[in-house]
Amino acid sequence: MKFLRQLLAVFAVAAVIIGLGFVWKHSPLASLVADGRGNDQRVGITNVQVQPNTPPLPDVQNAGRSNRGNHGLSIANVSDLAQSMVVEGLIIGAIVVIDLRRRNHRRSQSGGWLRIPAQAGPATRRDHSH
């Protein structure tokens, strides 16, 4: 019952956010995100002067995506997944390093090792770590 109440609260928050999205769409600020083309491509470089007799560049942005329909997973495009993992890994790694350095700094400031909490105790709930 408590979970249902919490779920309803989350639904309400989500509804408010989506409502704000619709307000955004009809506001002058909509151009901040609208790509103006109505497809899945990101806004690219426009108004580029092309020299005559220049061979057309490969359509890098459309490569893959335009061919990616309802054909399921594509191992050939696993580099896309690797790229996502690298981006997330770099951010996580940077924050962990900063966190460890801050902890070591505090430790050196206090003049010794901080007391390590008992490793063998029962695991706390996630909320406790927050």
């Binding site: 919490q6 639904f11 083309r37 896309d80 996502s84 890994g89 063998a120 709930r125 996630r126």
Partner: protein
């Protein structure tokens, strides 16, 4: 005094017991992280898997936030009190993340070409929702990573216990 990292003595199984709720939190969080990373890789998943994963992700996210709703309320009410700076950063990150993720999933549904068609709802291609979908997804990638990173100690501690891995502890007896 010298210190070193070493493998601790095995912990009795009773002391290693993890509450069921913590297990649910842990595996749901892992599943959400993996699902989002895979879903973000559009060229890898293809349209249909991308859309259905996104819909499932949206439902799971609602459950994830509902499971942590107590923390949301508690931290929000105490935000301007004596909470540590770290808590404020986490709160701000989570607030931005829930906003970006909600907009990402909602805009994804509104521009869906495959999943919604199966359900009999044919959507129009709209430049605003398309742009919002890609922009919010890019923001979400960074925020998800920050969100996970801010909980790395909890993930490591609980992960080791759930997977029964030996814990590393500092010994002063080197």
């Amino acid at each position: 005094m010298t210190s070193s990292l070493s493998v601790a003595r095995p912990v009795p199984a009773a002391k290693r017991r993890i509450p069921g709720r913590t297990r649910v939190d842990f595996w749901l969080d892992i599943a959400l992280f993996v699902a989002f990373t895979v879903d973000y890789s559009f060229n890898f998943t293809g349209l249909t898997i991308h859309e259905w994963t996104g819909i499932v992700l949206g439902v799971a996210l609602l459950a994830h936030v509902a499971l942590h709703w107590d923390w949301v309320v508690r931290t929000t009410t105490k935000l301007f009190g004596t909470r540590a700076g770290r808590e404020r950063i986490r709160w701000a990150t989570d607030l931005l993340l829930i906003g970006a993720m909600t907009l990402c999933v909602a805009s994804g549904v509104l521009i869906s070409r495959s999943a919604m068609a199966v359900l009999g709802w044919h959507t129009n291609r709209d430049s605003f929702w398309t742009g919002l979908h890609t922009t919010s997804a890019d923001i979400c990638v960074a925020l998800v990573a920050v969100h996970v990173a801010l909980s790395w100690r909890w993930i490591l501690t609980v992960g080791r216990r759930i997977l029964s891995l030996p814990t590393r502890t500092k010994n002063a007896d080197a």
